[in-house]
Structures are given as structure tokens and as C-alpha cells.
């Protein structure tokens, strides 16, 4: 009897704490929701009459896209669920896994082709949104000098490259390496690195991770997009890979077939490409429209 009551007191106290925590949860969620720039509140907090879009965007859009979304929310009232910025391949896999998506923007035609083949996106809505350049970056102030792609072989330190299966930037980088014979497959995937760089290559799960490796000094150089230089501190362009060394870098966007707000999603894509204020944001972050 006594034990039971003491345990009850414990359990009651613990559940009171849990309830308090849960109550705090909803407060905390609502309170900080207003602090989030993209207005990305949990789906439960959305009023019935408003539309909420789920955007899956290539990792390199992580800094620019929230501003465009905030602009769109201010103008139309359409809100956005927490936008996912991952390697384009990951995004497609996540869609395959059943994640609800309205808009998909990838960093390569190939990943968008995969999504089309799996019937995940509406082919009619597909359009090329941005073009980008592939650059070799170094840490700011580093004395690494690169005048040609093959110079990476003589760099003292590791080379950050996106994992080619999931990160389009990695695939483009491997194509650029293949153009000077440092990678065995012209496709940029499924090949081997030349022995002179094989043990120096560090694969990153996102293009941003590759940029971060260089920024933290874990790698001496890395292959990223021009736009990545603008969104990470501490890295600078050492060399811009010639456009002919890799396939054209385009960012295709499309509306997901599973979208319940397909019209609103198409409107948002059009806004991204046509609204002059949105274009100014892309310009600030170095995304050139296709």
C-alpha cells in the first residue's frame, strides 16, 4: 500500500511534468514559429483556408530560397512547410519513400530525370530554372594555387567532392576530373579516381558539406558551385572549371505529381522565375536564371 502510493506520487509527478512539457511545446512552437523567416510552422498550426506548400530544393538553394519564400508569403499569404535542402539524389529518394512534396528543384537534369521516370513529378511543369558554374574553392587566405583542373593532383591536402550518386556537384566535378584523365568515367559516376588523387578524395553527402570541409580546413580544396562561395564564410574561388569540362549545370524545377496544391505550386515556380523582386534575391546569391 505504502509503496504503491509513493510510486503513484512519482508517476503522477512525472506525468505532470510530461504534460507541462507538452503544453510548453505548443507554446514554444507557436512562439518561435514567428521567428522563423520562412513562416514554416507545423502543419497543425495552419489555418484552414490557407495553402501550405512543401518545397524540396537542392542544397545549394538553402540561403536564397527562404528569402524568396518569405517574399511570396508576404505577397500571397501562401505559407511553406519546412523546406528540405539536401543533395538532389536524397530528395528524390525521400520522395520515393513517400514524403509529401509540392515543388521539387534539383541541381541536375539527371536527378530530375530520375524523378520523372519514377513518375514523381509532372513532366509538363518541368523547366530549367538556374544555371551555375563549377568552381574549385580553397580556404580564404590559403596559398593553394590552381590554374587548371589537373593542378588538384599536386595540391597538398584533401579534396572535397560531393558523393556522385546523390550530389550533382560531385558528378560534375568527376566529369571535370575525367576531362583531364583523373577519373575513369566520363559520366562522372561509377568510375575510379586516378591513383594520384584517389587517397585524397573526401566524399561529402551534400555540396554544402564539401564547402564546409574546405571552410573548416579539413580539405585543402573542394569542388562546389559558384553560388556556394556566396553562402559559406571562409572559402574563395581558386579556379573556375571551364564550361566544356562538364555537362551544363542546370537546376530544373517541377511540380510533384502527388501535390494536392498543384496549381499553387506551379504559381510559386512561376513567381520564382518571373517576379523581379525574386530575381533580385537570386541575383544577390549568385543564381543566374537559365
Amino acid at each position: 500500500m505504502n509503496t504503491v502510493s509513493s510510486r503513484r506520487a512519482f508517476v503522477a509527478g512525472a506525468s505532470a511534468l510530461a504534460v507541462a512539457a507538452l503544453a510548453g511545446c505548443s507554446n514554444g512552437g507557436a512562439g518561435s514559429g514567428s521567428a522563423a523567416p520562412a513562416g514554416s510552422e507545423g502543419s497543425a498550426a495552419v489555418a484552414d483556408d490557407s495553402i501550405q506548400l512543401q518545397v524540396f530544393a537542392a542544397n545549394s538553394l538553402e540561403k536564397a530560397m527562404p528569402e524568396v519564400e518569405a517574399l511570396y508569403t508576404a505577397q500571397t499569404g501562401v505559407t511553406f512547410a519546412d523546406t528540405q535542402y539536401k543533395g538532389s539524389g536524397d530528395l528524390v529518394e525521400q520522395m520515393r519513400g513517400g514524403a509529401p512534396v509540392d515543388v521539387l528543384i534539383t541541381a541536375s537534369a539527371g536527378t530530375m530525370d530520375d524523378a520523372e521516370e519514377a513518375d514523381l513529378v509532372d513532366t509538363a511543369t518541368r523547366q530549367d530554372m538556374f544555371v551555375n558554374d563549377l568552381v574549385i574553392v580553397r580556404a580564404v587566405g590559403s596559398d593553394v594555387a590552381i590554374d587548371a583542373i589537373e593542378d588538384v593532383a599536386s595540391v597538398d591536402g584533401n579534396i572535397a567532392i560531393g558523393e556522385p550518386g546523390a550530389v550533382p556537384a560531385g558528378k560534375y566535378a568527376n566529369q571535370a576530373l575525367a576531362s583531364v584523365g583523373l577519373y575513369s568515367s566520363d559520366e562522372g559516376e561509377g568510375g575510379e579516381y586516378d591513383a594520384s588523387i584517389a587517397d585524397k578524395v573526401v566524399q561529402a553527402d551534400k555540396v554544402g558539406t564539401a564547402a564546409q570541409y574546405v571552410s573548416t580546413g579539413d580539405c585543402a580544396v573542394g569542388f562546389v558551385y559558384t553560388s556556394d562561395v556566396y553562402r559559406y564564410d571562409g572559402i574563395e574561388v581558386a579556379y573556375t572549371c571551364p564550361a566544356e569540362s562538364h555537362k551544363p549545370i542546370v537546376y530544373p524545377g517541377a511540380v510533384a505529381t502527388a501535390s494536392e496544391n498543384a496549381d499553387a505550386a506551379a504559381d510559386f515556380l512561376a513567381f520564382c522565375m518571373e517576379n523581379e523582386d525574386a530575381l533580385a534575391i537570386w541575383a544577390e546569391y549568385g543564381f543566374e536564371l537559365a
Binding site: 500500500m1 505504502n2 509503496t3 504503491v4 502510493s5 509513493s6 510510486r7 506520487a9 512519482f10 509527478g13 512525472a14 511534468l17 510530461a18 507541462a20 512539457a21 507538452l22 510548453g24 511545446c25 514554444g28 512552437g29 512562439g31 518561435s32 514559429g33 514567428s34 521567428a35 523567416p37 514554416s40 507545423g42 502543419s43 538553402e62 512547410a81 519546412d82 520515393r96 519513400g97 513517400g98 514524403a99 509529401p100 554544402g208 558539406t209 564546409q212 571552410s215 559558384t226 562561395v229 556566396y230 553562402r231 559559406y232 564564410d233 571562409g234 574563395e236 522565375m273 523581379e276 530575381l279 533580385a280 537570386w282 541575383a283 544577390e284 549568385g286 543564381f287 543566374e288 536564371l289
Partner: protein, 543 residues
């Protein structure tokens, strides 16, 4: 009346614990305010700077890294950069590294800036270099090249190489900075002429800065925030949702784990050894498997990629990348901890005692609730805390199965990884500190709890002493000691004492001698039932 003292001490400890927890919560929450609006205001002053000696300054300094070649309402502007309505100073940096500044004549007069005066131009250049560095976002800056050629003019266009750059070009009610071929007749389309000449207009400029030139007095001084303000700004702009998501997810997961873990341990205990081995492996395997394997399997079972998953989704069970998925992931990885500790505790119970309860006509359910649970409670409590900590720390399985949705499935561990990946090292560090503080509290709680159950054991010993005292006539003291004893030890102890009182009294003389020799009796209640063992322990200790 009897159990008041005990309940109070539990309540006191609970209060202390909740006070600590709440303190952490408030610490983490800080004072929620209009954080974003403030940070916007900070930004506004960040891209403004004045030179008081020269008498002018630049505000609304913005840098455009790229432009685009899109038509503006059907009109071809060549390669164009945006130009805000109120901007009256533009700095175009050519591919050759030259900086060409265009300043509006009216603005020059208002700001008493003379484009022909070398002192004014130098001051303008210094302002532009400083501000450009602030907004460059890691790109090349104006200051990078001290030998850069500078021209400052009040005209609205300039020619360099094969290109011509025009500022303030109006189209469809907006203004643009446009790059066109140098040789261009008025009715020609810039893009087609560029194509004919083989020019890539987008290569002409590296980037473009725009700003407003104003008298120095109009520039709101860009105050360097005090360290304390900077810190409070950091905490106010912090997104605390990962904390709540973590807490909510692990709390719900813990409730499920607690019930399932205890039931599984209880049912496994009673089964035949071969079945038990199988069940035990199945229940424990999530502890041995890498969490990503659990996540992958869950994704296969519930996801859209397999027929099982599609069947579930067709029947309304759509779980992947939802908060429920995060809870399931946390349950799967924390369950083995709860199960193993509970099983271990149940198995270490004296089987004879359970049999004794059965002979008294107790049902299995009653034995579980009234006998096994109280006796195994210290281990179960420790297992619960471990399971909670494991649920809080869950990363791989959650990321796989529930994804990373801020405010929905983004728990603290996931937030740490993604904040670091996005370059927000300070935010990641904040969460690391929170996790360390939280883990410290968990360990502290386990230690306090262990100390508490140790005290109970010591008191259990003193009860025995007191009971012996009662035989000598010290009744009042025996009653109060029995209260404490009953509060902590519970039914099991009472069963011991009631069922085996005769035995105890038979050997009490010997026990009294042993306890006097050992100084302070420290054996637990279970040993109480085996006075002969106890005696032999003591003998061993003496030897």
C-alpha cells in the same frame, strides 16, 4: 497517516527535480520577442556607412552577384542586373577588375559629393570597399585588389572593351543596370547583336553593387552591438523548436517504451527457454543494430517503395516523415534498454518469493503489480532514464524514417548536424551545450536515485535494529522506523517479515551479535529472509 512521511520526501525530491527541469527550460527559452523584426533592423544598419569628414555616406548597400538575360515584358535589355528604385550609386566591377562607379548628379549635389574631387573619390572608394566586404558573402571583394582601377562619374553609361554598361534603364516601371554590346544601334536587340559578335554579355561584369548616396547626417550610425546585446540577439533569434520536438517526442516515446518494455520483459520471463531465446533476440536486436538499419527497415515497411508500405498507405497508415515516425523511431531504439533492464531486474528476483505469493493465492497480474514492480523498481527507474536519454539522443533512425523537418521532426541531435552543415556553427554549439547540460542532469538524477535506494537499504537495516529494539520495549521508535521502511521497501518487505517473522525471531540472537560486530548493518530486505546466509557473509567479512 502511516505513509505521510514517505510521500512527503518523495514529493520534495520531485519538486527539486521539476525545479531543475523548469530552470533549464526557462534558460533555454529565454524571453521570446519580436526577434526577426529586430534582426532585419540590424541588417539595415549593417549596410550603411558614413564618412563624417567628407560629409556623405552610403546606405542600402546591396550586392548582386549575377544578373540574367530574361526579357522584361518582351523588352530585351541584354544582360541585366536589378536596380532598386531609390538607388543612385552603382559600382560595376568589370571582368578585367576595373571598378566603374556611376553616381546620380542630383544625389551628388544633395550629398555635397564632387566626382571630380580626388579626396571625395577616395572617401567614396573607402566606403564602398568597406560595405562591399560586408555584403560580399564570401565572394571576391572590392578591397581584395588595392591596385584596382577606379572611375567615378556622373554619367549613366560607360564603355569598356566590347561592352557598354548602362544604369537606370527603365522597363516596365522598374530600373535596371544593363550590359549591351558597345556597338549597338537603337532599334537593335542587344542579345542578338551579342550573339552575332560572339560576345557573352554575362561575362562582362563580375558583380554589381548598388547603394544610395546621402549626406553623412542621414546615415544612421551602424552601431556595433555590445557583446551582451549580441548575445541576447543570438538567443532571441534562436529557433528553439528542436528542444520542444525532442522533449515531446522522447516523452511520448518513453510512455510507450515503458509500458511495452515492462510487458515484454514480464511475458518473456515466463516463457519456455527456447521461445524466450528467440523473443529475447528479437526484442534486443535494435540495440545491437546500427540505428540507420532500423530506420531503413522502418522506411521499407511504412514507405511508398514497397508493397507492404503501399498497402499500409492505401489503408490510411501514412507515417513516413511525420512526427509519429519520429516517435516510432525513438521507441524502436529505446525499447531494448527498457526491456533489458526490466528483464534483468525481474530475473534477479527471488523465485521462491514469487512462488510464496502464488501459494497465498495471488494472481500473476497482482504479483506483477504488487510484488515484482516494487522490488525491481530501482532498476526499472534507471532503465527508464536510460531509455529516455536514448530516445532524446536518437539520430540515425529518426533522420532516415522521419526526416529533418524543423518544428515537426527536427530533434536536437538532428538540428546540431544540420546547423553545422549549413554553416551555423554557433547554433550547433548552443545545442551541444544544451545536450551536455541535459545529460548531466540525467546522470545526476540516476545518482540521486541510486543514493536514495541505498539510503533505503540502510534504513531497512535500521528497521531491523529498531524492531529488535521494540522487543526491548522501545515501541514509538519502532513505529516511525517502520514507516520509512514501508515507504521505500514496500509490500515485499512486509511479506518477508510477515511470512518469516518466526524464522527471524529464532535467529535474532545470532543476528544481533553479527550486526553489532559489523558496525552498521547494510544488507537489503531480501537477505533478511535468509538469516543463515547473512551470518555466513559476516563470517567471511571477518576473516
Amino acid at each position: 497517516m502511516r505513509d505521510h512521511g514517505g510521500r512527503h520526501s518523495v514529493a520534495r525530491r520531485l519538486h527539486a527535480l521539476s525545479a531543475i527541469l523548469l530552470a533549464v527550460v526557462f534558460m533555454a527559452t529565454g524571453a521570446p520577442g519580436a526577434a526577426w523584426a529586430e534582426s532585419k533592423a540590424d541588417l539595415a544598419s549593417e549596410n550603411a556607412l558614413a564618412d563624417d569628414d567628407a560629409g556623405f555616406g552610403l546606405v542600402d548597400f546591396t550586392r548582386y552577384q549575377t544578373g540574367n538575360s530574361r526579357l522584361v515584358e518582351g523588352e530585351d535589355l541584354g544582360y541585366r542586373y536589378p536596380m532598386p528604385d531609390n538607388a543612385d550609386a552603382v559600382i560595376a566591377v568589370t571582368a578585367g577588375g576595373e571598378a566603374i562607379a556611376f553616381v546620380d548628379e542630383g544625389a551628388c549635389a544633395a550629398a555635397s559629393f564632387d566626382a571630380a574631387d580626388a579626396v571625395d573619390v577616395d572617401a567614396f572608394r573607402a566606403l564602398a570597399e568597406e560595405l562591399d566586404g560586408r555584403v560580399a558573402k564570401g565572394g571576391e571583394t572590392l578591397a581584395d585588389n588595392p591596385g584596382r582601377g577606379w572611375t567615378v562619374s556622373t554619367s549613366s553609361e560607360a564603355v569598356f572593351g566590347p561592352y557598354r554598361v548602362r544604369v537606370g534603364v527603365e522597363a516596365d516601371g522598374r530600373r535596371y543596370i544593363s550590359v549591351v554590346p558597345a556597338e549597338l544601334y537603337t532599334d537593335e536587340s542587344p542579345s542578338s547583336v551579342a550573339a552575332v559578335q560572339g560576345l557573352d554579355l554575362s561575362d562582362a561584369l563580375l558583380w554589381v553593387d548598388v547603394a544610395r548616396l546621402v549626406p553623412a547626417g542621414e546615415v544612421v550610425a551602424a552601431e556595433q552591438p555590445a557583446p551582451l546585446d549580441a548575445a541576447s540577439g543570438f538567443f532571441q533569434s534562436l529557433d528553439l523548436r528542436p528542444f520542444w520536438v525532442s522533449l515531446k517526442t522522447s516523452a511520448v516515446a518513453l510512455i510507450i517504451t515503458f509500458v511495452l518494455g515492462l510487458l515484454a520483459a514480464w511475458r518473456t520471463m515466463g516463457t519456455s527457454s527456447r521461445l524466450k531465446g528467440l523473443l529475447d533476440s528479437v526484442f534486443t536486436i535494435p540495440m545491437v543494430l546500427p540505428p540507420t538499419v532500423c530506420g531503413f527497415l522502418l522506411l521499407l515497411v511504412f514507405g511508398n517503395a514497397t508493397s507492404v508500405g503501399r498497402w499500409l498507405i492505401d489503408h490510411g497508415v501514412s507515417l513516413v516523415f511525420t512526427w509519429e515516425a519520429a516517435v516510432i523511431a525513438a521507441v524502436v531504439v529505446s525499447f531494448p534498454l527498457m526491456y533489458r533492464t526490466a528483464l534483468g531486474a525481474f530475473e534477479s528476483l527471488d523465485a521462491a518469493m514469487l512462488d510464496a505469493a502464488r501459494t497465498l493465492g495471488w494472481g500473476e497480474g497482482r504479483i506483477f503489480v504488487r510484488l515484482m514492480m516494487p522490488l525491481a523498481w530501482p532498476s526499472i527507474a534507471a532503465g527508464t532514464v536510460l531509455a529516455f536519454a536514448r530516445a532524446m539522443g536518437e539520430f540515425g533512425c529518426t533522420l532516415f524514417f522521419a526526416g529533418n523537418y524543423a518544428g515537426v521532426t527536427q530533434t536536437i541531435p538532428i538540428a546540431i548536424y544540420f546547423e553545422w552543415m549549413s554553416g551555423n556553427t554557433d547554433v550547433a554549439l548552443f545545442w551541444v551545450v544544451v545536450v551536455i547540460a541535459f545529460s548531466f542532469l540525467v546522470v545526476l538524477f540516476i545518482n540521486l536515485y541510486t543514493a536514495r535506494s541505498l539510503r533505503y537499504r540502510e534504513r531497512g537495516g535500521s528497521v531491523r535494529a529498531a524492531r529488535r529494539g521494540r522487543a526491548a520495549g522501545d515501541g514509538a521508535r519502532a513505529v516511525s522506523a517502520a514507516d520509512i521502511d514501508a515507504e521505500a521497501g514496500g509490500d515485499a518487505l512486509r511479506i518477508d517479515t510477515e511470512a518469516l517473522r518466526a524464522l527471524v525471531s529464532e535467529t535474532s540472537a545470532m543476528a544481533r551479535v553479527s550486526s553489532a560486530r559489523a558496525g552498521a548493518p547494510s544488507n537489503g530486505g531480501v537477505d533478511d529472509a535468509r538469516p543463515s546466509d547473512w551470518g555466513s557473509h559476516d563470517a567471511g567479512r571477518d576473516a
